[in-house]
Amino acid sequence: MPVELISANHAAALAATLAGRANRTARGFCSGVYPITPSTECMEYLCGQEIEKGKVVRADSEHNAMGICIGASASGARSFTTTCSNGLAYMIENCVAAAGYRLPIVMSVANRTLGPPWNIWADHGDSLMMRDLGWLQLYSADNQEVFDTVLCAFKLAEDPRVMMPALTCMDGFILSHTMAQVEVPSQEQVDRFLPPTDIPQRLDKSAHTLGQMETPHQSVVHRMQHHQAMLTAQQVYAEIQDSFEEVFGRRPADPLVTYRAEDAETLIVSMGTLGVTAERVVDQLREQGQAVGSVRVRMFRPVLDGDLRKIFAGKKRIAVLDRDVSIGFGGVLWGEVRGFAEPATIVQNYMVGVGGGDVRPEHMLTLLAELEQSHESGAPQIVEVA
């Protein structure tokens, strides 16, 4: 497979382009985009592509960019956009609609700190703001993963059992602006992996209304359907991994990436590139004879409670590293996963690299050395990393 040296932003856009072309025999591709650092390069790349039966619309705001995606998807096109930070915050009202309409739009987010005060660097707080809206959420840790995840996200979102929008996230700058080798499949391969999309509720089939007024009982049923559909995503994703491997000869990363976790006493739980640094720390401490392992949560929504319970079983200590702060609470990931640990396990939350600090192995080693001395779970700690 040809290898290209591209940034993760370009990898996401290239995957979206290939996916868009793959729908040329059906209703085509249409995307509304609006720039914001550090997601801009993704939309720039997309704007420069020739996509047969495709249109990339430069919108006048993030809100309208999502509006265009909704319109495109509701008429049966494959649709993709990219934004982050306050751009995502501005888009979010339409993101709620996209989820409610159950439209399989894929969005790439180069995670960036929400302002003000302004900060352009990596923080997961923006996409985590979307936690409860009915979007699938996947976090990547290298350029190849970003490329693969966007392709998988289309297939996952468009699966009739799932049928809902998906967020694919990468750390702003740390990943979005890093160039590295990416294996890029041929269009023919992508066509095989990602057949034309069929959106059952699309508007061109018969005249009808999407998302009309409904009674409390109808809403309960719709919420239940959406919730159940999201819960099937884990199983569907496993099938997608198989089919991906069959077509591309390479297996996309698991929803939970465990590393030397099985026999570990201490576990580091994290998302995004923090997880790769955690693996380096694991290697280092294993060399010193310490039983440490790592879990990198790639699939944040749906939450993989069953698998996490199994992985957490019997652990002495779990350090949950969050690149976010839920103000007045602690780390969002910590809040999600702490309940899956056994009562005897010490679960400690460290919020590190908030606002984009360069979290180095040395930082994690210091935190783990401290955790080693603890006898109970403490309050979540915000760690200052410049």
Binding site: I120, M179, R360, P361, T366, E384
Partner: protein
């Protein structure tokens, strides 16, 4: 802490094909440059080369708030194994520095002995050898090479592709690897520069044994504290002085507008137009009258080189500066008051033309006693006797003269100065300034030139001007020449009763030195232009009856850039009853005693400079009223400086960095066609010497002035500043340097180049 030394990875050496054996992995490269130099792309190029060798690479920039010229870092990591390191590079094996001014502890931070350092600098390697004795050190003038090969633009040279050539050599990569990489990346155009750098780079090997200790700051310094600091954290973080981020600071500065630069009189054109716009004619006159003794005159007869240089030409037409000057002089009675001089000198000015009047005016303005000697009955010189009244009415000239004389200048008319008189003035006055203008007019030296009816144009104009006695003409008149005097003669001849007027000029119309608008006026009034014709003979018995004209072709350009006229054998004959010659004037002084010489516009006796200066056409032969006024002022200042024992500082009119059209942001200004002068249309110009150009109908034209290079307090900078650090003061603006990040948006948005960015200077201590 306890983890200050990185133990995460131990280095491995590799035997990868094409790579020098002493490269160990993981390889970490750090690059330091400035915003805009292409440092991030350079790191990517290096990554691409390693990727081509089959290694895993990762490359990224260290992104911060956008600032012009700010220090920028970029990193590249290389490993045969998959790369799991997602951190910045703190202990680089290879360090590339794109700008020697950046060299300092921060740049060298974490660089251990034995590392590879490549510096872009035009300096000799010896300058750095001692400093980098423990490193494999390379130095290359990548900027010079890239400039030579024309990579980038003349102002922004892009050096990354060149520098990578030197890097390849420093590593010991074969040239073929470089060629292959550039071919694959579509950079073959830059390959010659890269090859030159490959061959030119000067490489020094490390001197002693490699110890592996970092020479920069201790590595720990770059590792921020890890422990929670909640106990001493304030509720609100301390204020971040973002001004510390900046490497450049914007500031307000006056730059030279092209009109000011072009004005032969040294007028502050931008100054008087802006004063007119904001405060009216009196305020404008106050600016104008400092340099300009004759604004009513210049506002009518100046060839206005300012308008030819006006930046607005590139947008919608030059500002009608000449007529704005006229508007000010016609609408203001303002008088500048004479200053009190510390020591009052008594000076004689010989010649009451524009240069003499300007000289006398400037001297009197500075509080000195001036006596003006004029050989004719009235002051004015060429203004009174050479320019016809329909262009310069008597009352207009009188108005300027009255203002000049009101400064207390004594004038003695009908007082010619010969050699003896010159001697007397020299002894009686502290200094004498001679501005007698041109002397005799040129003749043609063609056969028949002495026939009756052939006359010098200047004599005709003088007679025409004299009292109410208009020179009566009849029949066909031919005027020979292409300057303003020729045009004046032609139009005056028409007014004096000629049945036809033909203007004969030896070059083409484009090369006529006369003011464009005057040529147009003449043609409109009925003057026929015969260009590319040279008179070779006059016919007639006693009285001129015809003129033989040879056709002219234009040859190669002369020293002055105009194409040389080549007279052909083809001739035609015109009948005529009057010929006026307007061929220019000679410059002959002849009033200095024989023992004196003229040197550098000053009289000398033997090797002694005398207090006698020369000003205007008799000294410079520039030939326009405006040049004479400017030279008169400068000569007055030079004379005063010399009398006071000081060196003259004002040797030129106005100096400074010129504002180019590209530096004016046209999009800021609405398109607005120039306001044209109003012209009085007469049924017949015959026998009418009324002023036909009535000037502007309002001062609205002043609104069109860009005010190039001078702040008008338009608030654009204040509006565009993204950080709100610009505030108004009484006289302009203040920039809060504590918070200005130096992004440069204000200077880029300034519509008129009244702002610029200045380097703050990077200090090693920072």
């Amino acid at each position: 802490m306890g983890h200050k030394k990185s133990t995460v990875s131990s280095k491995r050496t590799s035997s990868k094909a094409g790579l020098p054996s002493d490269i160990s992995f993981p390889l970490e490269i750090r690059l330091h440059g400035r915003g805009g130099q292409g440092g991030v792309t350079c790191a990517k190029l290096i990554a691409a080369i390693y990727a081509q060798l089959g290694l895993n690479v990762q490359t990224f920039g260290d992104y911060g708030a956008e600032r012009s010229g700010a220090p920028v870092r970029a990193f590249t990591r290389v490993d045969p194994e998959p790369i799991k390191n997602r951190n910045k590079v703190y202990r680089p094996d290879h360090l590339l520095v794109l700008d020697a001014a950046l060299l300092g502890p921060q740049v060298l931070d974490g660089v251990a002995a034995g590392a590879v350092i490549l510096l872009n600098s035009a300096e000799r390697a010896e300058k750095y050898v001692e400093r980098f004795v423990d490193f494999r050190f390379g130095i290359i003038d990548a900027t010079g090479i890239a400039r030579k090969h024309g990579i980038g633009t003349s102002s922004v040279v892009i050096i990354n592709t060149t520098l990578v050539g030197a890097y390849a050599k420093l590593l010991g990569l074969p040239l073929e690897v470089l060629e292959e990489a550039y071919r694959k990346m579509g950079l073959v155009d830059d390959l010659p520069a890269a090859k030159e750098a490959y061959l030119e780079v000067c490489v020094r090997q490390p001197a002693g044994a490699v110890t592996g200790e970092a020479v920069g700051g201790e590595l720990e310094n770059s590792l921020p504290p890890v422990k929670p600091q909640t106990e001493h954290a304030e509720d609100i973080p301390s204020r971040l002085k973002t001004g510390n981020w900046s490497t450049q600071l914007p500031g307000y500065e006056d730059y030279l507008a092209p009109c000011n630069h072009a004005c032969p009189a040294g007028n502050d054109v931008v100054g008087f137009i802006q004063a007119l716009k904001t405060s009216g004619p009196d305020a404008a006159a106050e600016v104008l009258l400092r340099t300009q003794a004759l604004p009513s005159v210049c506002g009518r007869v100046c060839p206005a080189p300012c308008m030819h240089e006006c930046n607005r030409i590139q947008m919608d037409g030059a500002v009608n500066i000449r007529s704005l000057e006229r508007w000010i002089s016609d609408h203001s009675e303002f008088l500048l008051q004479a200053e009190m001089a510390d020591k009052v000198f008594s000076l004689a000015v010989v010649g009451g033309g524009p240069a003499g009047l300007s000289t006398a005016y400037q001297l009197a303005l500075r509080g000195h006693q001036v006596t003006l000697f004029e050989k004719e009955a009235k002051l004015g010189g060429v203004l009174r006797y050479g320019i016809p009244v329909y262009r310069l009415p008597d009352e207009v000239l009188e108005r300027d003269l009255k203002r000049i004389l009101s400064l207390g200048i004594r004038s003695e008319c009908e007082h010619p100065v010969d050699q003896a008189e010159m001697q007397r003035l020299h002894t009686e006055f502290d200094a004498v300034i001679v501005s007698k203008g041109f002397s005799d007019a040129y003749t043609l030296s063609a056969a028949g030139e002495t026939l009756d009816g052939i006359e010098q144009g200047l004599d005709f104009l003088a007679r025409n001007r004299e009292a109410e006695l208009k020179a009566e003409l009849s029949g066909d008149v031919v005027v020979i020449g292409g300057g303003n005097t020729a045009i004046d003669c032609a139009r005056s001849a028409l007014r004096s009763g000629a049945s036809s007027v033909k203007l004969v000029y030896r070059r083409s119309r484009d090369e006529m030195p006369a003011i464009d608008e005057e040529i147009e006026d003449a043609i409109r009034e009925g003057v026929q232009l015969l260009a590319l014709r040279q008179p070779v003979a006059f016919r007639g018995v006693g009285q001129v009856a015809g003129i033989v004209l040879a056709e002219v072709e234009l040859g190669e350009p002369d020293a002055d850039g105009r194409r040389r006229p080549l007279v052909t054998e083809r001739t035609t004959e015109l009948t005529c009853s009057k010929v006026l010659l307007a061929l220019g004037q000679e410059n002959e002084l002849g009033l200095l005693p024989d023992a004196w010489q003229l040197r550098d516009a000053r009289a000398w006796a033997a090797e002694e400079p005398l207090n006698i200066w020369f000003a205007g056409d008799c000294s410079t032969a520039d030939g326009t009223v405006t040049h004479a006024i400017g030279n008169g002022r400068l000569t007055a200042l030079a004379a005063l400086a010399s009398l006071s024992g000081a060196e003259s500082t004002t040797t030129q009119l106005q100096q400074g960095s010129l504002v180019a059209p590209a530096q004016v942001r046209f999009s800021h200004f609405p398109i607005l066609a120039p306001h044209q002068d109003r012209h009085k249309t007469l049924e017949s110009y015959r026998n009418s010497f009324e002023e036909v150009n009535l000037g502007l109908s309002s001062q609205e034209e002043a609104e069109r002035c860009f005010s190039c290079g001078r702040c008008t307090q338009c608030d654009t900078c204040l509006v565009y500043c993204p950080d709100g650090v610009i505030s108004r003061t009484d006289s302009g603006y203040r920039i809060d340097e504590e918070y200005c990040k130096g992004c440069g948006i204000c200077a880029a948005e300034c519509p008129r180049r009244a702002m610029d960015l200045k380097d703050k200077g990077l200090s090693d201590a920072s």
